[in-house]
Symmetry: C2
Subunit: 451 residues, 2 copies
């Protein structure tokens, strides 16, 4: 009867149960952390009218869109969560209260060339704060705290949130009379890590036609370093020459000023003047987050401040600030790097109950009692040998196995084996549940990621 080979499309992540449990843990951590900062969950359709989704049009992305006809309708799958957010806010403007803070964790689609570690269907986990007309810079100052808390809650320690401000860059380039070429210059500077300062200088003076003086100024500027305080103090030296620059510096000072109050340790933060973020719509603070031991991965959480979220849908001015985690890729990379904590309980159940009597009533009643006490319990009533059932628990990593035979039932006790230690107890149901819950509590303390 079987006539089709089962397969999953390349570029589509489909996890086995144990890693899926880890992924679920990560998503739950994100949901909880985002919620702590007052973001409300949102869920928008995966399919949108192409006209709406592609209102902005053009760009590299358009070729990658999954776009198709259904009946008369020209439809597309969303390729990020920002455009649907813009649509949502414009559409429901009158029903929302601003500032509007939302998080969304959802799948997006890009038909990229398939290659290892690249995904065509992947989760993004976004937060955004949208203001109506205005939005305080304090929202920009809060973002590093959210990034820090999120990655810490996942177990990461060695990461750095790198921050810059587009007004500082734009103002600086204006000082050099390079307003018109600021975009090209930023894209070149962005390659600094990859190609080094001399190649950057060559492109600036060559392709872009900058004077050697200007190229030198730029290289000196982006080399400003030495820790947050030192960078800010060096930037003070540029103050007074351009209004936009000055405003950017004010904003950056504001972001840095409250880091401690927001609970962000100094070592997890850096001002980095090389960061620009490609997208044109960023206008203020921009963010990247890198893993210190894996810089090659690039940024695992990026975003920034923008002035006009939904200009294609509404005349309303809707400034905002947001960040996005490319969750599927992050999960893939963490797995590749061996950074997922294999000691976490990924079993489908906490307890496997093996009834040893014809009458299943006592075993079922015990399962019900365990579940009522929040313990994930599975009955194993298949026609299998005892050894096979133990092996089942073993393979799945189920931490406890309970045997319930005539003797135990008569004595009013439960035989419970800790599969890790081999230790076996015979206690009444209540005491057994207490033991299991205590054991699970200590087992589940670990983080998903070994950072």
């Amino acid at each position: 009867m079987s006539n089709v080979s089962p397969r999953t499309l390349s570029g589509f992540m489909e996890l086995l149960p144990a890693p899926q449990q880890q992924m679920e843990r990560i998503m739950e951590t994100l949901r909880k952390t985002y919620a702590l900062y007052g973001f409300t969950p949102l869920d928008t359709p995966i399919i949108e009218a192409s006209e709406v989704l592609l209102a902005k049009g053009g760009g590299e992305t358009e070729k990658q869109i999954y776009r198709f006809q259904k009946g008369d309708a020209d439809l597309s799958l969303r390729f990020d969560l920002t455009v649907p957010l813009a649509k949502y806010v414009a559409l429901h403007y009158n029903e929302l209260t601003f500032p509007f803070r939302r998080y969304q964790i959802g799948k997006v689609y890009r038909g990229e060339r398939a290659q290892r570690g690249r995904f065509r269907e992947f989760y993004q986990a976004d937060i955004d704060v949208i203001g109506d007309g205005k939005l305080s810079v304090l929202n920009e100052a809060e973002i590093p705290a959210i990034i820090y808390k999120t990655f810490s809650a996942l177990g990461l320690r060695r990461f750095r949130i790198r921050v810059n401000n587009r007004k500082i860059l734009n103002g600086f380039y204006a000082m050099l009379g390079l307003e018109d070429r600021a975009g090209d210059v930023m894209r070149t500077v962005d390659k600094l890590d990859k190609i080094g300062p001399e190649k950057v200088r060559d492109i600036l003076t060559g392709d872009l036609g900058l004077s050697p003086e200007n190229a030198g100024e730029i290289l000196r500027f982006i080399a400003i370093g030495g820790g947050t305080e030192a960078v800010l103090s060096t930037l003070e030296g540029y103050r007074g020459r351009n209004q936009v620059f000055d405003q950017g510096l004010e904003e950056l000072n504001e972001v840095v000023r409250y880091l401690g109050d927001f609970g962000v340790p100094a070592e997890n933060f850096a001002v980095d003047l090389t960061i620009a973020r490609g997208l044109d719509y960023y206008t203020g603070t921009v963010y990247e987050t890198t893993l210190l031991d894996h810089p090659e991965i690039g940024s695992v959480c990026s975003g920034g401040r923008y002035d006009n979220l939904a200009e294609y849908y509404t005349e309303k001015q809707l400034p905002g600030v947001g960040i996005s985690i490319g969750l599927t890729r992050l999960f893939y990379v963490l797995g590749e790097q061996g950074m997922l904590n294999q000691e976490l309980n990924t079993a489908p159940a906490d307890v496997l109950i093996l009834p040893m009597t014809e009458d299943l009533s006592p075993a079922i009643a015990l399962a019900t009692q365990l579940r009522e006490n929040g313990v994930r319990a599975q009955l194993h009533c298949e026609a299998k040998k005892f050894k096979q059932k133990i092996s089942y628990a073993d393979k799945l990593g189920i931490p406890y196995v309970i045997f319930l035979g005539e003797d135990e039932i008569k004595e009013g006790v439960v035989a419970c084996k800790d599969m890790a230690t081999g230790e076996q107890t015979k206690l009444d149901a209540r005491a057994t549940i207490y033991r299991i819950r205590a054991g699970l509590d200590s087992r589940n303390q670990g983080f998903v990621i070994r950072g």
Copy 2:
């Protein structure tokens, strides 16, 4: 600049923040409840190769499929979670441990004619237990417990899990010599609730050409009622005339026998011989769940036992039992019926902090402390009047507002207003957090659904 009217496709649910919070609560309850029964979460792609997804081919569904080309690939969006499960189990057979118990909550797509209350993108919430070759009937007996626990956890009280067994029906029709027409007969009997027994008799004797005796037998059979014990005892009268019937009766007895041990109250359960479930692949126990006060909605949780999950993908015999909740439609209907609990906290935050000083440090430090204690806190630092900020908390239903002015900071206290009672306290941060947490605990005790 705005040039495209923002809109959401018809047939696609897009919720405002407050109802979305209710939906999230429902999903979280489902995840937790399914996990208590030892089901592991799964996530499969929304896009599959058409060849794989449509291996079974044909049927009413095929016209509704979202199917399209991308490059050379013929792709389709999944229309349920069962076919992807079959693919998954066949594909990963060697890496899975059986019985394999999984839950999946995910979006599926059907391009139905758009009408009120019908959705083209909707969530299904499925659980299935898959055996390798064999699967104990105890898994069928456990399903009513899972349904009961799930709906109870959501807050529903007045619902009934209605159960039948396909072997009883097939065996009974075989007794009448109607094996060949069993499908047609079942489809007719299925209309009993809608058209009444006399119309059913007319169709049976008319279109289907049954003898008046057989039609009478059938109507007598499906009229068997009077409570679970009475139905089972009446069914005993048919025993010994057909092997399949007898086996079905054994299975039904087994399902009923352990209901009490599984914690299912008698009033939430009924044997209902009219239930057949259309799909051919059900072979044993079948389930429907109806809301007693809203029978017009139809079944809100259905499923059954099947013998061969993945016959299109593998020669392996993979029997299973599963149920599915049409979550989006259920949510819609609950909203329409006014059954969603409006008193639940659906605010994006538990506390809104209004800093009243130039220096935001104390307010930010307090927000950080609240968050570290698990309280969802939002800072409101926008350039708005005090009254507007209070109105913001009010509109969003944020239960507590904290004011932090020079006086409070000097005194080392926090002014905290309970927005529901108007009661205002001035306590230190720890005591304020304690008060808020206690208040939230009592607020969050309610169920999502008022059943």
